[in-house]
Amino acid sequence: MAEPLLTVRNVSKHFGGLQAVDAATLFAEEGRITALIGPNGAGKTTLFAMISGFVRPDAGSVRYEGCDITGAPPHELARLGIARTFQIVQPFAGLTVRENIAVGAHMRHRGRNAALAAATAIAREMGLGDMLDQPAAALTVAGRKRLELARALATQPKLLLLDEVLAGLNPSEIRDVVPVIRAIQARGVSIMMIEHVMQAVMSLSEHVFVLAEGRIIAQGPPEGVSADPRVIEAYLGHGAAKLTAAGAA
């Protein structure tokens, strides 16, 4: 079997006395949507930060396309084709939508005009065509999420890391964004997503990893994972109801 696009092996990270991630191992197959779920404070975002180069792991390795990328800085990873979005959206508030996306596009286009043209095209695809010259600060939450996606996409990634891209959206907005993610996958982009909206996880992902207290406690296809007693136990409390509701849906 060929090596997966991304392999994370036994990575650990602690902050002060807190073990945020403890020897976690997971992988993302090419062309698939992989989900990373877990209760609040499980260490998902830290794990993402290590994969995308924002945080250096204390131990373990990250491999991508057969190369060791452990501890490489984010901009190099972006150049290799790993793009990410942030849980709390981080638009360049003072720039217009077009300029925002162009920052991403510049990675593949040196010239300003080429980058702006590419940005315009992507903005249209992502449904931001009407707002090209608006400042990013003027966008709604849903608009900013789309912008975040568009910007990441403009770097022409092979692997897209989505950190709770659906959080903060209302159900109708979620219904709008889910097909967008599918479309991205259809372009041949592999996706790894952290998600709380279980409904979306169930419908989008092909493989799920469950992180709890810094450890991967389960993995497999979504249906199997959701039935796993360890997962239910990890989610017990405020998370359990959500999971069972999702399972029933």
Binding site: F54, P73, P74, A78, P91, A93, V103, H106, A137
Partner: protein, 328 residues
Amino acid sequence: MRRLAMIVLVVAVLAAVPFTEASNAVLNFLVVALLIALAGQGWNVLGGYGGQYSFGHAAFFGTGAYVTAVLQVRYGVNAWLAFALGIAAGALVGAVIGALTFRSGLRGSYFALVTLAFAEVLRIVASVAPITGAGVGTLIKLDLRHEALQFQSRAVFYWAILGLVALSLVIAWAIEHSRFGAWLTAVRENEDAARALGVDATRVKLGAMTLSAAITAAAGCFYAQYFLFIDAGIAYGPWISVEALLTAIIGGAGTIFGPLFGALLVRLLGEAARLVTGDAPGLDLVIYGAALVLVVAFAPRGLMGIVADIRSAFRRPAPRPTAEAAGG
């Protein structure tokens, strides 16, 4: 391209001033204003486009001034060459300070403080080191020949500094129309997001700081060549750090013409204040300070922001003034 045409127009208008019967007093006033504008444009590259607020641009101004002066006086280097080397030395100091600070991840208040401290260290060193003439300062020999980069006519000096300012305007324009500029503004707006999009933030900031330092150093070189005397307080004193920042912010940080118009306005305000109050010591500076606070409070994009708002108000009644939206 329209902006580029604006640059040509503004520079052409300014270049015509000596052909009117403007007195040397006016020319001298404009020379100093343009000198400050140049220093301010240097600050603008790093602070305005890059969002890194330096409180110590004197470090670059002073290095430019001292290298220009000391090379001529002590080593007999040709003035033109000394001028160029002064700019290079300023850029080098910028690169070194940038490498140290950005690698340590200093931002915001920390960055402001550390730049201030570097400028102060240089000031103290310059006030005791024999090579700078220590406390006595360095005096460039009066030698009104073109080879010595000194001119009998104020007008020639004026055109020279205008040429440098014009170049700095073109640099600002190029920043706005390049990948480097896009990355730089992205870093200003949100460094983490920029890094995730493939921007090597440290390198971009370092590049901006080097360029910024070179431009401000050019202002320092010109100062030395125009006034022919510098000492530690003039070259590395906090006055130039403050003026560079002030003109850029008041004119409009992160805009092409901000520092130029800011410098002209600030200097005019100072003259006007002294005109109205006689020689009331300090009042002109009170006005500078007040202008800074007022601009930050009510016109966050400075003079250029006000101009833009007025223009857009006339062109189409925009439902949402962009300045507020961007500021929020």
